[in-house]
Symmetry: C2
Subunit: 243 residues, 2 copies
């Protein structure tokens, strides 16, 4: 029996999504509880992808297999009553055996939130505290250049040896409300640190240290050293996964 779930987590107290020895991880907690529910028979889960330490997820997805056909409402209730406070399962469905939470992903949406107003200690883990103004028009122009199919080698660590750096950014958005800028990126796939590296460059453009159109030459360079810093993890949220 294959199950599919949508879940939310607060990334602040996890060493990222992916299971690691001697670290508190989202996958580790979910597998521990699912294994308990499965009568201590080991359950492994496959998520849509990992998120790094400190990164949050509003609607992360995963699949897993259980021997039994469990009532979905009961399963959701058991999971949520046994999981720690910082993970919550929103929805569970039964899916076909050929469904795969990672391989079947069509698109993902990430959002990144920046406080351009005064420092706010209450949102320290949840909003990047930049605390100075940005030129949103310039950032919006730069986001426009990112849309479409590009080689994003300049936006992922050079240590990443994968062959294919081509990704499609389907849609970008930027908005501001109450001194908080929200940047949204919808794309077919994102490589490690890609969103945070894009945001890091966008901030430099918003600070008018670089021109919006610089993003075109940076994409063409296919060279990580040409882009900007990596924006911190705390402002990043995996918002949606589309199948």
């Amino acid at each position: 029996m294959r199950y599919f779930m949508i879940f939310t987590y607060d990334g602040s107290k996890f060493s990222g999504y992916q299971k690691q020895f001697n670290c508190r991880t989202v996958q580790g907690e979910l597998e521990r509880i699912l294994t308990m529910i499965n009568g201590n028979k080991k359950v492994l889960i496959s998520a849509s992808g990992r998120t790094d330490t400190g990164v949050h997820a509003l609607n992360q997805t995963a699949h897993f297999d259980l021997d039994k056909d469990i009532n979905l409402e009961k399963l959701k209730h058991s999971l949520n009553s046994l999981l720690p406070n910082d993970i919550y399962v929103k929805k569970i469905e039964k899916v076909d055996d050929y469904f795969h939470a990672r391989f079947k992903v069509k698109a993902k949406e990430y959002i990144y939130i920046i406080n351009v107003g005064e420092y706010n200690p209450i949102e320290f883990n949840y909003v990047y505290q930049l605390n100075h103004n940005l030129n949103i028009e310039a950032m919006s122009e730069a986001l426009g250049y990112l849309e479409g199919k590009h080689n994003f080698k300049s936006f992922t660590p050079s240590a990443d040896l994968r062959q294919d750096y081509i990704r499609t950014i389907i849609k970008t958005r930027i908005s501001i409300m109450d001194n908080k800028i929200t940047i949204s990126l919808l794309g077919t796939g994102f490589m490690r640190y890609m969103v945070r590296n894009i945001v890091g460059l966008l901030i430099e453009i918003g600070e008018e240290k670089r021109k919006a159109s610089d993003i075109i030459t940076i994409l063409e360079a296919q060279d990580r050293t040409k882009a900007g810093k990596t924006a911190p993890a705390n402002g990043l949220y995996l918002k949606n996964v589309f199948y």
Copy 2:
């Protein structure tokens, strides 16, 4: 030289505002840093009042005395660069020697936030996760009965032996947005647990376990056992202090 400051803190990782031996407190952190800035000559601060463990403050106020006349912008900057991430000083002013941050308070505003939608792990420390609907009309009616001058003995622990339980609630408000209810209470003064005990009763009224008008007889009873439970600390914010 007497200084007045307005500051914000995230109550989640403090054992309340008030200094205690071997506990991390807001007052303890502020006095530790101010003492450093004062050349290790002990600085004591007087706040508008304490807040309990887990309670947040958007605009808490305090005064303190320093030997030297320090530039206010420099003092604010030094304080914020030395303070931990979960406290932030928004404003510092010089005040007359007779000013007192507690005795001169004219009114205080507290807000309490309740999530009546689905559980959200990301706001666990910042919004009370009730996660079911409430009858806001009934709660609003009940809030109306609270306005004015009343004996609030039913809303503070009976262990509190102070003589005067009379307080004035100047203005109340309730609103809902995105499944979050915000209750605001503006009053001349609040006793220990008073806001959380009022909110606890309001929730029972919103759940239709009690009638809105029950609040009248509960006030008259002057008996803590007649009111409701104490709402959790995490939804409570000291919003403003008025002088």
